[in-house]
Symmetry: C2
Subunit: 175 residues, 2 copies
């Protein structure tokens, strides 16, 4: 992994796809494979920042959602809906954050069937420290030019909207 | 996860980022988070296709690389370099594919320190079946418009090039 290849392996895969008669699928294959690879690269960088803080990106996202909430707490099912992850994943993240003393589960004031996760001061402080580090090391200089960032966001927003993540009316207009 | 949100959660996170004084990082955060989410959506679809064939995307990629190779075999270190994954991941994928009877390890003809992975006829046949299914269900209709696919590929290609995946000279010229 040290030395860069002298060709783009995804361009090479796309060439093979076309050569095998799969022309109709080759641009989709190239784009999807590029997303998978870009995610690997970014998650590697994110993990390198979060690991010393004993956080994963999934747990960091839960913490930030609580930090951003008006009361510092949210029902578990709302966390899953907002982060678009499976209830089991939310339970696992909340379990671990609670063991770490960063959040606590509290019963809902009026609805006894609902459990809230509430961020504790130490959790809030860690979330902000993690954000400072992520902003500095990843988000402020992602390695993508400013105009490319907006184009990328727009394309993926249309995709996420059409995949059902949010109602289509919310999508930004086509640039 | 069933009902779409009535807002884009990444736009909302971006708004929070700006409101907390992290304007310089908000576009990077939004783009990176979008990539992570798009990868989740695509990998979910890919896994749904590959699981009945008892393949993961990582093992599928190894199989295809062997299918595309001139001799149907490649040294393990070359597989890692081409797929840009860690040697341990290659070993794990090759172990499993060998247990499944889809490939076999063979010694290199002239260099005894090098081990090759060679795709077997049943592995080749499964790889092509998996490709037909992936092309049909994911790559031919990724849920991204044709012109967006090319734009997305271009942005991510520049990113992959600058991240050191391949030498910069190989990058397509800026559109």
């Amino acid at each position: 992994m040290a030395r860069p290849l002298d060709f783009d392996p995804i361009i090479e895969a796309r060439r093979q796809w076309a050569a095998h008669g799969w022309e109709e699928a080759c641009d989709g294959m190239a784009a999807v494979t590029s997303i998978v690879r870009a995610q690997q690269l970014f998650l590697g960088r994110i993990d390198a920042v979060l690991r010393p803080l004993e956080l994963t990106f999934a747990r960091y996202e839960v913490l930030m959602l609580l930090v951003f909430s008006r009361r510092g707490s949210l029902p578990l099912n709302k966390i899953g809906a907002r982060l678009q992850v499976h209830p089991t994943s939310v339970t696992n993240a909340v379990d671990r954050l609670e063991q770490q003393g960063l959040i606590k589960r509290v019963p809902h004031a009026s609805d006894r069937r609902t459990t809230l996760a509430e961020v504790l001061p130490v959790g809030r402080e860690l979330a902000l420290r993690a954000t400072t580090a992520l902003n500095e090391s990843v988000f402020r200089r992602p390695g993508i030019a400013d105009d490319d960032l907006l184009v990328l966001f727009g394309v993926l927003q249309r995709f996420r909207g059409s995949a059902g993540d949010f109602s289509a009316a919310q999508a930004l207009p086509r640039a």
